[in-house]
């Protein structure tokens, strides 16, 4: 094979690899959104007017359930073209949130989601999905979890087990920030 042919094959393979990496980067790692080249799905799908009164009602529900809501921010956002709303609880350590003060009986993340979606307020507000996001004292998001309201309620009512609930639960965990975070460092055995 001549040098020219080798070079041509090399260039073709090289560009195919670049295209493959670009496709993976766009579809899987969402790099253009990460770099701010184009807006994330949230920017478009959650661009509607927040239901501020509804958010205050859901916050009231959490307080009635005995949760310490210091550092907890609640939002109700319409999901575009879905005909339902998203309830988002941001647990912000920079604003005073502390897991040790939350006052829930069981696992705080699951209980927060269950408390948000199981009352008549959530039904009246047509909450189709709940999100819980934890931010550390530097304002960095360490983890975010979301599930459809039905699955959360079914788990709360013991219709589905923990394994099925975990399967229905989608999430993002920033492991690198988690392992170096002051709150979680005490669990690290060094």
């Amino acid at each position: 094979m001549s040098t020219r042919n080798c070079l041509t094959v090399f260039l073709i393979v090289f560009f195919l690899c670049i295209i493959g990496i670009a496709i993976v980067g766009v579809l899987f790692f969402r790099l253009p959104e990460k770099w701010g080249w184009w807006p994330s799905p949230a920017a478009e799908m959650l661009a509607g007017t927040p239901h501020r009164e509804g958010a205050a009602e859901l916050m009231g529900v959490l307080e009635e359930k005995g949760m310490d809501t210091e550092g907890v921010e609640m939002y109700v956002l319409p999901i575009k073209d879905a005909g339902e709303n998203l309830a988002v609880a941001v647990l912000d350590a920079a604003e005073g949130f502390d897991f040790s003060k939350i006052g829930t009986e069981g696992d705080p993340l699951t209980e927060t989601m269950i408390n948000i979606v199981t009352g008549p307020e959530a039904k009246a507000l047509n909450i189709g999905r709940a999100v819980v996001e934890y931010r550390n004292e530097d304002g960095d998001t360490l983890f975010t979890f979301t599930a459809p309201s039905k699955d959360i309620r079914d788990f709360g009512n013991k219709i589905i087990n923990r394994e099925a609930f975990m399967e229905a639960l989608d999430g993002d965990i920033d492991f690198s920030k988690l392992l170096t975070d002051d709150m979680f460092k005490e669990y690290i055995m060094f």
Binding site: P41, D107, D172, F175
Partner: protein
């Protein structure tokens, strides 16, 4: 921190996390939740060791698509909320301008215009822009915002959303007319007309409260000969 250092830390994760024998503290329960979820999703194996999927997670830094845009949006809701907070902060600044004596309506309107750049589809901000520009005598520049078609688009036809939209607008118009009165000037006719149109929509959408809306509408109509053109 480089990606390789993050990867090294992740590989050490199963060897470095400890859980007390009794999972009593809320932090223990949170860690247990995170581990259970990671195992269920195949990021950690049953022994808590990272799988190849964990490498992808670390390299992506939390930006992996689930394949469902609605779920991706929910997981990225924090970005939308940061936009809401930014816009709400500007709306508060605008309201602070209106509380001054005399109120700086022009500055408030400009601040709301800036807030709309962050959240152009937020009808509460649009209502504020409509009412303030009308108060400034610039109603023609924002005429489209006041149309029922625009409101329907913003609410996707949702009746409850429309009622909230028009109730918010009615309150803002009321505040605007009070503000103009408090400055010793005759409120402009466009402000009263906007109030009348808003209450006409509310009467249609919320018949249960129609007597209240009709009373307010008649109040605005009584000023039609005594307003500033």
């Amino acid at each position: 921190m480089t990606k390789y250092k993050r990867l090294t830390l992740l590989i050490l994760l199963p060897c470095t996390l400890i859980l007390s024998g009794c999972l009593q503290s809320d932090k223990d329960l949170v860690i247990a939740f995170l581990l259970d979820w990671a195992k269920q999703k195949g990021i950690l194996d049953d022994q808590g060791n990272p799988t190849p999927k964990a490498v992808g997670y670390t390299l992506a830094g939390g930006y992996i698509s689930t394949g469902d845009p609605a779920v991706d949006a929910a997981l990225d809701a924090g970005a939308a909320i940061d936009g809401v907070k930014k816009a709400d902060k500007k709306l508060k600044e605008a309201n602070d301008e209106l509380k001054k004596d005399p109120p700086d309506v022009k500055k408030a309107a400009e601040t709301v215009d800036n807030a709309l750049k962050d959240r152009p589809e937020d009808w509460m901000l649009r209502n504020n822009q409509l009412v303030l520009r009308t108060e400034l005598g610039e109603g023609n520049t924002v005429k489209d915002l006041g149309s029922s078609g625009a409101a329907n688009n913003q609410c996707g036809g949702d009746q409850n959303c429309l009622i909230r939209l028009y109730q918010n607008r009615a309150q803002l118009v009321d505040d605007s007319i009070d503000r103009q009165n408090s400055q010793g000037v005759r409120p402009n006719c466009d402000s009263y007309n906007l109030g009348i149109q808003t209450h006409q929509q509310l009467i249609k959408l919320d018949p249960a409260q129609s007597s209240q809306y009709e009373a307010q509408m008649r109040e605005y109509q009584s000023h039609s000969g005594r307003c500033a053109d």
